[in-house]
Symmetry: C2
Subunit: 446 residues, 2 copies
Amino acid sequence: MNHSTAVEQTPALLTDLYQLTMLQSYWKEGMAQSAIYDFGMRSLPGCRNYLVMAGLESVLELLESLHFTAQDLAYLSTLGLFGDDFLSWLQDFRFTGTVHALAEGTLFFPPAPMLLIEAPLPQAQLVETAVMNQLHFQTLVASKAARVTQACQGKPFMEFALRRTHGMDAGLKASRSAYLAGASLTSNVEAGRRWQIPVSGTMAHAFVQAHGDELSAFRAYAALYPEGALLVDTYDTLQGVRHVIALAKELGTAFRIRAIRLDSGDLVALAKSARQMLDEAGLLQMKIYVSGGLDEHSVAQLEASGAPIDAYAVGTSLWVSEDLPATSCVYKCAVYGGRPVMKKATGKRSLPGFKQLYRHQQDGRFSHDCIELRDAQASGTPLLQRVMVDGKRVNRPANPLAEARERCAEQLRQLPDELLGLTQASTPYPVQIGPHLTTLIEQLCG
Amino acid sequence: MNHSTAVEQTPALLTDLYQLTMLQSYWKEGMAQSAIYDFGMRSLPGCRNYLVMAGLESVLELLESLHFTAQDLAYLSTLGLFGDDFLSWLQDFRFTGTVHALAEGTLFFPPAPMLLIEAPLPQAQLVETAVMNQLHFQTLVASKAARVTQACQGKPFMEFALRRTHGMDAGLKASRSAYLAGASLTSNVEAGRRWQIPVSGTMAHAFVQAHGDELSAFRAYAALYPEGALLVDTYDTLQGVRHVIALAKELGTAFRIRAIRLDSGDLVALAKSARQMLDEAGLLQMKIYVSGGLDEHSVAQLEASGAPIDAYAVGTSLWVSEDLPATSCVYKCAVYGGRPVMKKATGKRSLPGFKQLYRHQQDGRFSHDCIELRDAQASGTPLLQRVMVDGKRVNRPANPLAEARERCAEQLRQLPDELLGLTQASTPYPVQIGPHLTTLIEQLCG
């Protein structure tokens, strides 16, 4: 696996100024006792029945490579906020903490913690911005993609996120998150190169337009990509299908084009007509792909219609997680200097102490999760695993993305049926607070 | 100005596969005649009265540095789609086209083109994904930020976008786009370093919690940052204000803390009470900043309430342009081989030909824009300027961000009042299609 240069070169200064001013204060005050910080979502958004953990690999790469360059320090010294002694200390700064996290591809339910960072207070605080920036959006995209996977009912879908995601980093990681949660193919070539995701693509309308007439465009394309797919709706979809059939007659046994793609119009009616025309022309093996502003809801409608569609391409605004582009995620101190800490404000209450998340099953399905203090040694499968110790990765998966994808698929099979629907489940998945944690909260609030 | 390594190292493979397969086809077929492609938004989203051009600098950097590495070519050769002859040609591929674009900070109104690329067809097609990926989201963020600027009515606002934007590239460029459209300060240190945006920050709740008691936290902070701002709502906002006053008494003339920040609760009532308490303690010079899930609408409400607020901090979900995380943008061929080209599908019609956008004014305000063919030499101020010729930047601004920020502020002053409101204007800004362009469309559709 080729690790990203882009990520490894992420500047240490890509953080909020207050992380650095607080860091200097902790350093000056000698407040370097160990802290535990939790990262997670406050509550499950109404438009989701579950979330899919994604982004851990990026976070661990960032933590492992975090350092300040001479250029960074030179800039900081211009701000008039930082002492020379602190800046020399920063020069040797490395993240030396321990990280416990849900494995990528794990389904989870807020307020379950997704990741715990155990480190000297200054380090634990400093990394907040980067942890949130990476885990938040990758988890949102994976969670959205899992819904599309469900809507496709086993049919493959391709994602073409890149063009309308928010920048290059988002485009790259949205492709990864989508594949993690069930997409079969990506249009994103760099994502293919970096993570061995199968890449795919057909042609743009502009390709057909540039050739003047559609049949010439199809002929040129088929000559180069004999097993490619042809986009048939540039001028008139069914006329486009006739041009495909004409090309098939022209090429005879050399015709091996595998599919047509419909990108506009009444997709149900057009797919039915196109299927009939292809079948009548003896092109029974040809597939029909559809695209065009699809999301999980429109895919579900197309599936319900019984239209003869073989695969979907989903992109456009979907991969910014359009119905949920951001959610309330928090990174909170749970332990400092060995004592449990909590935020008590109404609606913003955090969970104190060093915790574990336990999953329980019944009849092969997930029944409930329980958040409990580690010391309590509760039952159930512990989901937060140590993935970094003393700043070095441990228990590193051989192929993180493939394993995460398999995990996500497996866990979706174990989710209660009602939670797999696209609408809000009448009863959310139960997440309990264990008795020891409950007692601790009562003590701290009492 | 320090140009970003991250941007300059953006891989050429961060594109859709079909761009490369089409490229090979054009190359094989010798279809290298000059083309003009337009990039723009299809229509003005209902929740916006104007848009703010942003992202051009990123696009030009990408185009200037676009090249395929040996590693890229090695990966492409594994796909079984590309011939060795084509891959050797790719090795020397550079973008050699001409770019005409709206200057950053220009207010515009769809369907006005934002950017035209004039290049041999293969080049013009290849760059689509990168152009969309960068211009689309930066323009969305700048357009959202301009609304916040309006809502603040001249008061400064700080943005802290980074943590919940979609990845690092988005975080960095959202900070730039926000500053471009009127933000005064950023929390994003790297954005500060890279573009000389003033950086700012206070403290996190965790800082107060880690110190155990609030007054100790304030004391430690003020010792290091005597002109800093104190976050007062960790436990109880007004109790926090009392702690600030206690610290002021303790420090006497050494007390120079410039502000308190309120981050939760009834901000109007709390700001009024805090102001009264500070004034009664003789701390008349101290400012009150507020934050906490703010957007342009809540800022406008706070302003309307007359609450004694001196500055706003806006971040959270705002900087993913939460009410408009994506919009319908298109990159369409308008000319190929000297002949005008258009897409005719209903609702997806594109504008053919080599065009210019002209702005007209009346009484010092913008009155309307007109999209017309270049040859027609229409009246009005032409807004699409040449910014790259033969792959090299021209007319390069000395300080792109500062000039764009000034342009945006100046153009907001020239916008008709009704369009400055936060709700949808009853009459949208008029964008006319000039008579020569109208005739051309009729000819092509006829």
